[in-house]
Amino acid sequence: MKRNQFLILGLLPAIFLMTFLFVLPSLWGIYSSFTNMALLGKEAANFRFLGFENYIKLFKDSAFYTSFFNTIYFVIGSALIGQFLLGLIIALLIDYAERRKIPGRGIVYGIVLLAWINPTLIAGFQWSAMYDYYYGTLNTFLKFLGLPKINWLGSIPMLSVIVANIWRGTAFTMLIWLSALKTIPVELYEAGKIDGANAFNRFRYITVPMLRDIITVNLIQITMATMGAFLLIWAITSGGPGLKTTTLSLFAYRTAFESYRLGYGSAIAVIMLLINLFFGIIYIRLFRRR
């Protein structure tokens, strides 16, 4: 009994700090979302409770819907299609190359990983230079080929930030797939080969069913991380032009720190928290089953 008390005591510092950073802000966010709390201006001097006013305003705010759908496009484009598919393809290729001793696999692995451990702000800087209209590497290359320049951040801003985020985040999925592929016994593939299954069918009927749970967990992880992405988009486009690349996290940030409306920004944060909790609970459920 004394030992268990000692162990509970050992948990207290961690619980205290996590309450401070995770629980307290959530409660403060809920509280302030019912107020007109502001950093500057006449609202800042006239603090009062608004009830559900912020939420009613939010659900009538066209900028909220724009950012909500931008978030969905960004997640589908960069996480579900981009990072997941590219990460899967790279992992399968590296796995294949390892067995056939094809050169270059180590460099591919290293460079994809480097893009991932690279601080996100630096990635934003690198890509805003790549996309530069007048001197950027991409347009210089197009000119070299005799093709017209593309206004990457003006006419196709969402696609541009999606590509940058695929570049930055693919390694995570690649790592998960690489270690997962190693858990499948080689005999299964050999049996499949003898039965006359081609490479695609072996993947479809052996790999996918074996790794179903890992795939789902991975998909939810990248979905949540991408929904919360802030720095990369912020560094490349600041959410613009207009609201074209403003996702929910940028919308909350701009509302709170550029329009100085903390209460309204908190209401957005609370909605985001609810969406995240929804995905998080599914994630834990699946994780538990394993």
């Binding site: 050992g10 619980i15 401070f20 190359a97 591919v108 601080p119 702000l121 709170a256 995240n276 909790l277």
Partner: protein, 268 residues
Amino acid sequence: MKILVFIIFILIIIFFSIPFLWLYLSAFDKEASAFIKLPNFTLSNFIEAFKEYNFTRYLINSSFVATITMLLTVLIVAISAYSISRIKWRYKNSLLYSLLLLHSIPLSTTMVPIYGIMRTLHLRNSYLGLILVYTAMQLPFLIWLMKGFFDTIPEELEEASWIDGCTSLKALFKVILPISLPGILVVSALSFLGAWGESMLILILVDSEKMKTVPLVFYEAIRTVGGYMEVRYELVSSFAILFQIPVVILFILSRKLLATSIVPGVER
């Protein structure tokens, strides 16, 4: 088929390496622009970073915050992960899953409330505030990671040391921690990196000149994009390299250790 795979490899390498090539070449070029080209090699950008931009101060701030965060994090993670690993409690699993839940929620979600809390507590623009936030933010994942290490150590080892007269605390420090040194090293490296590279909360937690860290200064340097000034690619590239070097070095050092303990949810 082999040749096809090799060609795809080359395409992947081109896509992933060009932004890095551009960055590394620009940092050593006085006349760098957004376009990738071979430099007239010079170190003048780095010299300017230190002479004109007070980079020494920012490096010291960043290193100090990251080091103290690392020490505090390792201490708290070691004790609490050990506790979770050994505790016999009905709600142990719920506790573990709530850690995973906390880890999976991106910090950008709670960024606005975190600002509010830190402002109310007057912890903005202070080392203490940064260290507390950076420690707390990494706990869920690192405790989860470290608990995995402790789970592999049989309890009989500690029980033997109790018979020799050790208290629980003494057994933890004398018997358990030395065996789990690889885990401790991974936690140290990751917590240092987490604090060193954190570039989002720093935007709302610090605005005084003497508290600025490397990521914040880097951020301010790139924010001239679309503003009144042209972004100085050559100078900012040298900032980027100073910011990136510790990350790459520590990552390479801890990679071997990390590979043995790959756990879901490393995404940051």
